[in-house]
Symmetry: C2
Subunit: 474 residues, 2 copies
């Protein structure tokens, strides 16, 4: 970089910092009002599983976006509508697509709540309410970040599309078709989702990928009915044994999945990914103690994060055959079944892996029935994305802390609709405290996390597309 360029960059950088500090000041001045607004928002139930309050909350959101000066629409799906808001008055500027969900989990069991789930209450610096952490408090922080920018500067540093899902808590069944149908309107440069929790230490995190998912069942049918294990033992085939022997061909005791071809599309971690996970804190001894285990799963030599990020799994979720009550019942059961899930890593697809499962079962136990259940593609954005440094910088400016970078997390989310369907880099940047108790009674969001979330949202708008930050990311 030439000296003149450097001087220009420094000048632009300090100008941007001043502009962002003005937004931070605005957030600090309005903190109390923002908390009140969030509590008002969270007082409206929007329970997708119980079909309660969905339309009302979608309209509240639309009104808020319109009042902020954004365009906003309630777009139908086969299920609950998507709220889509937009601000695109920065001609020629890049666009960030923000994703969140306005539906919440059912609040039951109600008697376990200290205060009612839809009467948001502050205790010990936290707001308690259903959906406050997952996800109302997090996308509302992003909304307030936009609002603060507009109030302070009259415009945004980039264009914004805000997409709020009304069915995330029931598995976003209509999100893939919605994104496909509206892909022209959703054209953007990257996707940012504020969901999940920061590290238990309070350190912010950025997640770049998720594992995919494939659920299936194997059903083995034996005799028409349970038969006497003495009168028929050795004569009538036992479906439980058939299932045991089939399963033993699918994964070995050393922890390797032994379905032919399943590792063909599993890539080793990159040098940059290994470097990132080496920096991640983990307390294996503490986890073992918490869960009452003496050691991790096989193979023993595999690193903690390698297990979760770069290896597919084949998990038995449930295995059932015959008698399970007290004492003995001397039968040969009439049937056996197993419920499995596989977590898939980038490059694997549920369709391809399911085909391998079907082929494997056909070769080893052709009479066994294979039933496919839910599935989800894996998703991964390169940790070497040019946006990575901008995101790190934005978080540092908002929170004064360098975030931990997770190349992948072990669970599954439909991020593939962004990375694979829309072809965009996608980043998950959680704002909530790690003990938010989402999906559980007494769900809560710390006010500190909420305000940091607003500032982080504001800093992301300011920094995401800052070429000077991009220039310094190498």
């Amino acid at each position: 970089m030439h000296h003149a360029d450097e001087a220009g960059a420094r000048s632009r950088d300090s100008e941007q910092r001043r502009a962002l500090d003005a937004v931070f000041d605005y957030v600090d001045r309005n903190a109390q009002d923002f908390v009140s607004c969030l509590m008002a928002y969270a007082s409206h139930p929007s329970i997708s599983a119980q079909n309660i309050g969905i339309d009302e909350v979608a309209h509240l959101l639309k009104e808020r976006f319109l009042a902020m000066g954004m365009t906003a629409e309630i777009l139908p799906t086969k299920g609950n509508p998507v709220v889509l808001a937009q601000w695109n008055r920065q001609a020629g500027a890049p666009t960030v697509l923000l994703y969140g969900h306005y539906d919440v989990q059912p609040p039951e069991p109600l008697e376990a709540w200290t205060t009612p789930p839809f009467e948001p209450t502050i205790r010990d610096g936290r707001i308690f309410a259903r959906g406050i952490g997952d996800n109302k408090g997090q996308h509302f922080a992003q909304i307030l970040a936009i609002e603060s920018h507009l109030k302070v500067h009259g415009k945004l540093p980039c264009n914004v599309i805000f997409m709020l899902d009304g069915e995330e808590e029931v598995g976003s069944p209509n999100l893939p078709s919605f994104v496909l149908e509206h892909r022209e309107r959703l054209k953007a440069d990257l996707v940012v989702t504020a969901d999940g929790s920061v590290h238990p230490s309070g350190t912010p995190i950025v997640q770049f990928g998720v594992r995919g998912l494939l659920n299936f069942e194997l059903h083995v049918h034996g005799a028409k009915r349970d038969v006497h294990s003495g009168n028929y033992g050795g004569v009538v085939p036992n479906p439980a044994w058939t299932l045991v022997h089939l399963l033993a061909t699918m994964k070995n005791a050393a922890g390797e999945i032994t379905i032919d071809g399943v590792y063909d599309r599993v890539d080793p971690p990159s040098a940059r990914e290994l470097e990132a996970i080496a920096a991640l804190p983990v307390n294996v001894a503490g986890l073992c103690e918490e869960l009452g285990m003496t050691q991790l799963d096989q193979p023993q030599e595999r690193g903690y994060f390698e297990r979760l990020m770069f290896h597919p799994t084949l998990t038995i979720n449930g295995l059932h055959s015959g008698y399970g009550g007290p004492g003995m019942k001397t039968i040969i059961p009439d049937s056996a079944f197993v419920k499995c899930d596989m977590r898939l890593v980038e490059s694997q697809t549920p369709d391809e892996v399911f085909a391998l499962v079907v082929k494997h079962v056909a070769r080893h136990a052709p009479s066994v029935e294979v039933v496919r259940l839910n599935s989800m593609e894996p998703s991964k954005t390169s940790i070497e994305s040019p946006y990575t440094q901008n995101i790190v910088t934005a978080i540092e400016r908002a929170q004064g802390k360098r975030p931990l970078l997770y190349p992948v997390v072990g669970g599954s989310l439909p991020d593939y609709v962004f990375t694979k369907t829309l072809g965009l880099p996608a980043f998950l940047i959680p704002y909530a405290n790690s003990d938010q108790a989402n999906h559980a009674p007494n769900e809560n969001l710390s006010i500190d996390c909420f305000l940091k979330g607003i500032k982080t949202g504001a800093a992301l708008l300011a920094c995401l597309f800052d070429r000077d930050v991009v220039g310094s990311s190498t």
Copy 2:
């Protein structure tokens, strides 16, 4: 054999036939009265599982034995008493120990009975009542056989001990200790039990052995609680997989038990046993159709009766871990367990085999807990016993049909108390029709089977110790 001996034998034989025919005539003349007596006996409930009517029926039996001129006692056990009757006035003659049980199964579900279970009713040549086949009608036939002999001849051809168990339907928990305690009083030359069913074709059968039984459970403990299969998949060990891999080391897909040493004490069938089972009818295609199977269990080349008689089994009775409801639940279960039974063949003992199981589990999966449940020794009397021909002759004389000889049956009964504890040859000679519906509603005994039972009982008393029959058995 010399000519003079032959002539003597022929003469003794025709004398014995005449004496037996006189008993048969008596049975025919008193058939209607015998049926009435049986119906009166079966009208008294004696349900061990529900502790109903046990003492009353024990006293009825004692009174009957005393009225016949036998000694009779009600001997206590830790549970229900044993009724022990004796006739030993044939000085120097051998003794047969007859075994049966006076307790019956619970009658429930009552609404499934056409007529009440304790109001014996005749329909279509059958008596319907709880316990009529299992076992009241069968041991009562033996009692009437003794009574008929005594009425016609004033004495019995041999000495008799009659032992009636009051807890067979709850597993005869006190029979082993009772037999051990009273072994001096139970001194006999052989044991005959009338229980079970004749062949569906109506052909009588003699059973020489039963398989033993060993029940155990394996418990695998994982994390303290179910954990998320995404967040922990690859990290937390899965007890269901541990159990699958352990079980796969215990029996292979070819049908062989692979616990070290388990076949060490398994003897191949003798030539005489193979000859006997070659004569036994079996309809494998019919069984497969009835049970909805395409083929028998592995290995395919093993003969039907070899499977049931000469091979131990390792049967999964129940296998359970994790979620079993509809849809999916993406967890790593916190535990897994299996309930197994092993059927043991002669020379194997539950203690030795259980020790092999424990050793195997300790070697392959030391963290897995092994829990022993019930067990029972196998029992086998040689089909080449000198009594075999006498029994065949007795049955032929009573029923005009040659019985089928079963060296072993697949199920388990406590016959070992006779063969191993008392060291006696023991024979199971069922009298009931094969569709007796024992343990089920509408239990029944055909009057024809009952009367044949009385005559068979009488013929056994006459023939069992007949040296001329013994002489012709080679």
